[in-house]
């Protein structure tokens, strides 16, 4: 187990290295100058130049990359040009809303998606199944920002059940927090509910076709136990995979939903930072989100070992 973990962690290094290079390259190529953005159109060229120098923008690509990477390796993601604060701090201070959003969306995906998937699998071919799957198609096809707009139109503007946008921290009360989070989480999670439902269904069907299900039935195991004990556990691997992947996507997808709902999470931070050319923040966030994504996948892999004894993690 330990060696496996070690090996997996080591194997993350090239991935993250490539990500860092890709991100850095992209940012290097990005036009627009943070110094200019900061100073506005009234600044003289000398002022801009002085600021550029101070920000280290005049160094070469390689120099800048290594300075940055050196910092990253020591856990220092750099300092935001605009907010003048540690990028790590910016990320942490913006993480709460995003995390809350992603977790809520994931919860929706799990508690709605999996039961629907199981239900549809058990009634495969029936109208119930077909209508659920039809719905799931629509769920997958609606971009989150569009759903967000529709949800706002219906629940906030027409029914006035939820606030149109904004964010309240958890410290201001759970309900208050949720009131602001439910619509965004739904908008964000809808696609994942649908994906989870579909994955659950097809994974369940795959397993239901396997021979050991016949064995279980031949033993006289009740159908409900066949489903929950024998099928679901085996069907769980791909479901967990998709849930894990979803989580990464959810965090990234929050960028869009956060913009629509004006939630001050890292999604919005990254969009804003791109607008302001706040390069350290952009780099930091992308690296961070990628890291989260990769780590979640690692956790999923570890879960495999727990669920399926065939997956040997230790040697």
């Amino acid at each position: 187990m330990k060696t496996y973990l070690l090996k997996r962690l080591i194997s993350l290094i090239p991935t993250l290295l490539i990500v860092s290079i890709v991100v850095y390259l992209i940012i290097y190529l990005t036009p627009g100058d943070p110094a200019e953005v900061m100073l506005g159109d009234s600044a003289t060229d000398e002022q801009v130049e002085a600021l550029r120098e101070e920000m280290g923008l005049n160094d070469s690509f390689v120099q800048r990359y290594f300075t940055w990477m050196g910092g990253v390796l020591q856990g220092d993601l750099g300092t935001s040009y605009f907010m003048k604060e540690d990028v790590t701090y910016s990320i942490v201070s913006h993480l709460g809303p995003t995390l809350s959003l992603a977790i809520l969306a994931e919860i929706f995906a799990i508690v709605i998606g999996i039961p629907i998937g199981i239900f549809a699998a058990r009634r495969r071919g029936t109208y119930v199944d077909q209508s659920f799957m039809g719905l799931s198609y629509i769920g997958v096809a609606i971009p989150s920002f569009l759903l967000a707009l529709f949800l706002i139109l219906i629940f906030s503007i027409t029914l006035k059940w939820f606030p149109v946008a904004g964010y309240k921290e958890l410290s201001e009360g759970l309900w208050e927090h949720l009131r602001y989070m439910i619509l965004p989480a739904l908008a964000l999670g809808c696609m994942h509910i649908a994906l989870t439902a579909r994955m659950t269904r097809s994974s369940m069907l795959d397993v239901l076709n396997l021979n050991f299900i016949k064995t279980a039935r031949a033993k006289g195991v009740k159908e409900s136990i066949v489903i929950y004990r024998h099928t679901l556990r085996n069907a769980l691997l791909p479901i967990i995979t998709i849930i894990g992947q979803n989580f990464g996507i959810l965090i990234a997808g929050a960028a869009v939903v956060e913009t629509v709902f004006n939630i001050p999470g890292i999604g919005q931070l990254v969009v804003n930072s791109i607008e302001r050319r706040d390069f350290p923040v952009i780099q930091g966030i992308i690296l961070f989100v990628t890291f989260v994504y990769v780590v979640i996948n690692l956790i999923v892999d570890l879960l495999y070992g727990v669920i399926d004894p065939r997956v040997k993690l230790d040697k």
Binding site: L16, A141, A255
Partner: protein
């Protein structure tokens, strides 16, 4: 020998007959697949609208009518007008062209590049390590963030969206191609080709490639759908197709501002996006059933 030659002359006839039969079979298989047919019909409808719409309805998606801003649907403007008083129907139709074009182009480029990468990675171990690491790296960056960042770097233009999204989606195609190719590579007939003395190029392109076509097509429809979605998202965030070119995302971007007063600016292009993606997904899944060798075989 006589008999052989005679048969040879019959061969071409036989061939056409078989081809016809094959086409008929494929058609009947397709026509019996509800998903594929529904997806196809919707898609065909949207494509027809995009291509023929401008011919039959002579509307200008750019013409500004300051006096008719934000009109609701009416006889004059079937879908109403937008915040510049441009005809929403015309914009949605032209938006369809753009969105479909981008989706198609991305699917095409990512498809080709991904196939090449996937095939060679699956065949040569040393390439596999390098290429797949890079792909993994790119895939580890969430698609939407990568797309946004790339668009910021490349600058907004339709070509750049295509480039950016192709970069984003190539690894996904490559991965699918590679994983199917890895399976195919182990098939006995590949071994048989080696036993016969075939060179790698022939094996890769003549034998492995045709067999990854089904998963590839399915993946490509999904890339197609995703490209439309991400393009819309990018445009919605203001980082996509440069205005005033209408794209569905662009229209939504404008519509977001006025959602309280003029929800149809969101509703019409919104429905189009949903329909297009829905159709593509259904079509892709239908194809999956059709192309799946398991559904062919006796079982």
């Amino acid at each position: 020998m006589e008999a052989v030659v005679k048969s040879a002359s019959d061969l071409s006839k036989r061939r056409t007959a078989l081809k016809k039969e094959q086409r008929r079979l494929a058609y009947s298989k397709f026509i019996h697949n509800k998903q594929a047919v529904t997806g196809f019909i919707i898609l065909a409808f949207i494509v027809a609208l995009a291509l023929l719409g401008p011919i039959f309805i002579s509307l200008d998606p750019y013409e500004i009518h300051p006096e008719d801003r934000l009109q609701g649907p009416s006889g004059n403007y079937l879908f109403g007008t937008d915040n510049l008083g441009r005809d929403l129907l015309a914009r949605v139709i032209f938006g369809a062209q753009i969105s479909l074009f981008i989706g198609l182009a991305v699917a095409f480029f990512a498809g080709i590049l991904g196939t090449i990468i996937g095939l060679y990675a699956s065949y040569y171990k040393f390439l596999d390590n390098v290429l797949m690491r890079i792909c993994e790296g790119i895939m580890a960056i969430p698609a939407i963030l990568l797309a946004i960042a790339l668009m910021a770097a490349l600058g907004p233009s339709t070509e750049n969206i295509i480039i950016a999204l192709s970069i984003v989606y190539t690894p996904y195609v490559a991965r699918v191609v590679r994983s199917s190719a890895l399976v195919i590579r182990e098939e006995t007939y590949i071994e048989a080709m080696k036993a016969i003395g075939a060179k790698s190029f022939r094996i890769i392109w003549g034998h492995i490639a045709p067999n990854v076509v089904s998963p590839l097509i399915i993946q490509i429809t999904s890339v197609f759908a995703n490209a439309i979605l991400i393009e819309a998202t990018l445009s919605f965030l203001g980082a996509g197709v440069p205005a005033p070119t209408p794209s569905w995302g662009n229209i939504l971007y404008d519509g977001k501002m006025v959602i309280f007063n003029t929800p149809w600016m969101v509703v019409f292009p919104g429905i189009c996006i949903v329909l297009a993606i829905l159709a593509l997904n259904m079509f892709g899944d239908g194809l999956r059933d059709i192309l799946d060798p398991h559904s062919n075989s006796k079982k």
